[in-house]
Symmetry: C2
Subunit: 192 residues, 2 copies
């Protein structure tokens, strides 16, 4: 592997054992003490590797790993005062720890957004086992913009595919169809 | 096939015979007389089906078929006065015939655009045989926004794949990498 895709992908998907009836856990920020804690009362959906420049990633990783969960299942239970929003004008308002910079959850406040009602979370911040495994890789071409050499792109797509993660330069077809259906709903052209 | 993808795709790719040393031809608009004619002195590249709402398509077709060619190889040779630009603020300035509405060529005027120097053309407007065949399908999810039922998307992607056209919800990985490399070049992060 040429590039450090993400620490949680170095053992294939072995860091994601299936746990029956898994129903959530707690995310902790990276601070040594006074950790921000976020309780999630549900299994995550649509976990994926994301190559965009905005999603939080661990030091040295090329991709982020990010999943969604209903916003109503997400609750900050400790040290909420350490949180701030990266960019209030972004579609996803990413709440991060001002001390360690880990992104604890991303929330969509625009009710017309296709993914309104879902929060974006990084389950690698949890010690609990059973979170849903990554299913695909999104915004792959975007890693060129954050410094990945163009000459490595073929190998990187192949490595991701070999891991069982189909590669897309936007989101997966399933999610892109949801986005287009929302746009169609808003402009009155939606047919089911 | 549920939907009329495009008339030129109903016979597979048989409408695209390989012609050795093919070096271009002439596009004609759909008017019965005083046709706009555009001479193209090169073979086209990256021909593909496009599901976006802006590319010109024949009546009833779900997809456009569109290819690129160096702008310097494109010349309007008859009835240029019938041409106008669909939207001067769009990245691609689509020059169309004001009488029959066919798009004769799309040009990028922004020198910082990744595809600056290439014109977008619909070779179905030419009687010449030998133009490059479609290679992939782009912006597939976008057809939902122009009225394709969401329930047909699985079949449509399968039909396109069976035709030998891999489906993407943006452009192909090759072209998306070119776009990201241009963005990286502009922000000083490009590595080759």
């Amino acid at each position: 592997m040429i590039t450090n895709l993400h620490p949680k992908l170095t053992n294939g998907l072995n860091d994601y054992p299936e746990v029956n009836d898994f129903s959530g856990g707690t995310l902790q920020c990276l601070c040594e003490s006074n950790k921000v804690e976020v309780k999630i009362d549900a299994q995550t959906l649509h976990n994926h590797a994301c190559g965009c420049s905005k999603c939080w990633k661990p030091e040295g990783a090329t991709f982020s790993l990010v999943a969604v969960v209903p916003s109503e299942k997400v609750q900050v239970i400790h040290n909420e005062d350490k949180l701030a929003i990266v960019d209030e004008t972004a579609a996803i308002q990413r709440h991060f720890c001002k001390e360690c910079n880990a992104h604890m959850f991303g929330r969509i406040e625009n009710k017309d957004h296709a993914f309104y009602g879902l929060d974006f979370v990084h389950t690698e911040l949890s010690a609990d086992k059973g979170w849903s495994a990554p299913q695909f890789a999104a915004f792959v071409s975007s890693i060129i913009e954050t410094g990945t050499p163009t000459s490595e792109m073929g190998d990187i797509r192949k490595t991701l595919n070999d891991l069982g993660l189909p590669t897309y330069d936007v989101l997966s077809p399933e999610l892109m169809d949801v986005i287009s259906a929302k746009a169609a709903e808003l402009n009155g052209t939606l047919k089911k």
